[in-house]
Symmetry: C2
Amino acid sequence: MDGGYVTLAQVASAARVSLATASRVLNGGARVVRPELRDRVLAAARRLSYVPNAHAQALAGGATATVGLVMHDVSDPYFASITRGAMQVAAEHGVLVVLGSTFRSPEREIEYVSLLRGQRTRAILLVGSGFTDPGYLREMGAELAGYQGSGGRYAFISHHDLPGAAVLPDNRGGAAEVARALVRLGHRRIAVAGGPPRLNTVEHRVGGFVEALAAAGVPSADVTVVEREFSEEGGYVAAHDLVTAGLPATALFCASDVMAIGALLALRERGVAVPGRLSLIGFDDIPIARHLTPALSTVALDLEEMGRRAMELVLACPRPGADPDGGDGQDDGDDRDTGESGDREPEDSRVWIPARLVLRDSTGPPP
Amino acid sequence: MDGGYVTLAQVASAARVSLATASRVLNGGARVVRPELRDRVLAAARRLSYVPNAHAQALAGGATATVGLVMHDVSDPYFASITRGAMQVAAEHGVLVVLGSTFRSPEREIEYVSLLRGQRTRAILLVGSGFTDPGYLREMGAELAGYQGSGGRYAFISHHDLPGAAVLPDNRGGAAEVARALVRLGHRRIAVAGGPPRLNTVEHRVGGFVEALAAAGVPSADVTVVEREFSEEGGYVAAHDLVTAGLPATALFCASDVMAIGALLALRERGVAVPGRLSLIGFDDIPIARHLTPALSTVALDLEEMGRRAMELVLACPRPGADPDGGDGQDDGDDRDTGESGDREPEDSRVWIPARLVLRDSTGPPP
DNA sequence: GCTTTCCTGGAAAACGCTTTCCGAGACGCT
DNA sequence: AGCGTCTCGGAAAGCGTTTTCCAGGAAAGC
C-alpha cells in the first residue's frame, strides 16, 4: 500500500494482540490460540495484506524453504527436463528453487555452492557431470562438507567422484548397449564423438562404449574416438571433421543427443545419408530426439524422473539435528554398486536410473 | 567445519577486531579500514571459511541479491532461451535467480509473486503471456502495486495488460508479416492454430494474422481458426483435426514453434507432405526450429535478448528511495506505442523486440 | 473452599548482520 | 604551542521473526 512492508507487529497491533500470538496464528501452528483472537489476527493480516518476511523467518530459526539447483545451462534440453522434474517436487513441498548456471566452469560451480550456502538454502542439487580435476574435487569437497556440517543437504545428479547422495544414470551400461546394438546391426568400423574427458559423464559413456566394443570383438584400430566440445557445436565439428577425414566408419555414437543434433546438421550439409551411409545414435532421449528427421536413435533416460528423485532425496524429512550422517534408509534405490568409484561412504543414498536403448530411424545396417 | 555456521562475530574476535570493522572489511566497502586490520580480518575469514548469512544481511537493510523469474515451464524451449538470457545478466550483477513454474495457472502465478514478495527479492520478472481474465488482472495488479510500493521492481516479458515496465515482442507485426508472406506465395485458403484466447500472446498473434489476411483480401470464409492447447500436444491435435476435416487450407500458421512441432508430427503421421501439400509456419524461432525436417519457417524473436533486456530493466540502478515512479529514461527502447492497450502509465519503460520473418523449408507455394 | 494443575497470552531474548553515532588519536593551521 | 579538523575503530541500536519463559485465570481435585 504505502511505502515499506507490513510487519507482523503492525498486524498484531491492528488485531490488538501481542506479537507472539500473531506469530503463532500466522506461522507457528504448534500452540493453540483462542478462536476469537485467531480470527482477529487472520482478519487483520488479510486486511493489511501481510506477507511474512522470509529473511526474518530464516534468521529467527524457522526453516528455509529454498533449494539451490546448480547446472550447466537451463536452455540445454537435458538440464531443462531435469529441472522440470525437480521443480515439480519442489512445488509440492512449497519450496522455492534458486538457479545457478555454470556453463561448465568448475570455478563457477564452487562459487554458486558458496553463494547458496550464504543463502542458507535447505539443500543443493548439483546437476550434471562432475569434473575429474583433483583441485576441483578438493575444493568442492570441502565446500560441501562444510555445508553438510551446518545442516545442509545435497545430492548429485550424475557421477561426481565425491561422497554424497546421488541420482545416477547408467551411463556405462547404456553405452555398452549401444555398442552391442551397432555390432548386431553389422557395423564393424565405428566412431564415437565425445567431449573433454574431464567430464565424468563423457568418460563413462565413451569408456563404456569402447570397452563393450572391444568385448564384442571389434579391434580398437577400427574404432575412431573424436573429442570435441560437449555441445551441439562440438557434435557439428566432430561430424564435420570425421567426414573430412574420409569417414572411417559406418556408425557414429555421440555422447549426448545434443551433440548428435549438431552432428546431424553437419552430415546433412556434407550430404552424408543417415542412416544410409552412416548410422547415428545419441544419448539421453531429450524430448526433441523423436522429432528429428530421421528420428534419432538414442539411449533413453527418464530425465524428469531424475530431477524428481533427486529433489525427493534432499527433501526427504531429515532428523532436525544436523549431524553429518547423510543417507537415511532411502527405500527404493536399488543399491547395486558397480564400483565405478569406490571412495563413497556406504550410507549415502544412491538412486540408479536405468538406461534404455531406443532405436528409431537414424540407425540401420551398414551400407 | 563443526556444526553450525561461522558468524561474523567469530571472525571479528578471531581477528581481534570489532564487529563493525569486520563487517566493513568483508561487506561494507564504503568506509576505509587500516590495511593491517583489513588483512587480519580477511585472513581470519578465510581461515574460518566464513560465509555471510544472506538473510541477516537482507534483514539488516543490505540489498537483497535475488531476482524472481516466474514463467510457464522452463523445459519449454521458448522459456528456456529467455531464462538463459536473463541468467547471463543476473550473473554479471552477482544476482541469484529464483524460479517459479506456473504451468499456465493464473493462481500459481499470483502465488509465486506473493512468495517472492516474502523473499524480498529485489525484482520480479513475469515471463510469458499474461491472462486476459479480469479477476486475475485485478489480483495481480494489486499484488504488483504492493510489491512496487515497498521498493520492488518488476517487468513483464510479453504483453500483460497491466502497468509496468515490459519487454514486448512484436506479435501482431510478426503475425501480419506471416500473413502477407503466405498470400504472396499464392495461398488463399489458410488455417491458423492458436491456443486459448485468454492468453494475450495468442490473441495478438492470431488476431494480427487474421486482420492482415483480411487486409490482403482473403475472404474470412477461407480462413480457418482452430483453438487448442498452446502446447506441442495442442499443435498435434489441431493439425490432426484439420486433416480429419478434409484439410481446408494450403497453409497452416501455428501461434508458436512448439505448436508447429506438434503439428508437424501429426502431419507426418497422416501422410501430409510439408510443404508440398501444406505449408507450415510457426512463431518464436526456438533453437531447434532450424533442425527440423523440413526446417521450420517461423518468425524470429531474439529470445535471449528478451531475457537480457528484461533483467537489465529491473536491475538498472534505481534511485534508492523506492517511490513508485517506474521507468527512468531507458535509452535504446524505441518507444513506438502501437496502442495495443492504452491503460499503461507513460513513464514505464518499454522495450520493443522486433519480429523477423524467417522462411525456411516448411513453406512454399500451394500445390 | 482452597490449592494444584492446565491453558493461553504477553514480554523479551535471541538470530547475524549493517549502520549510525561517538570518541580518541593524528595531523594541519595559525 | 594551542586549537580545530579529519580519520578510523568500537559500541549499540535496530531489521522482523520465532521461541522460551513467565504470569494470570480457569478448571479440576481434595
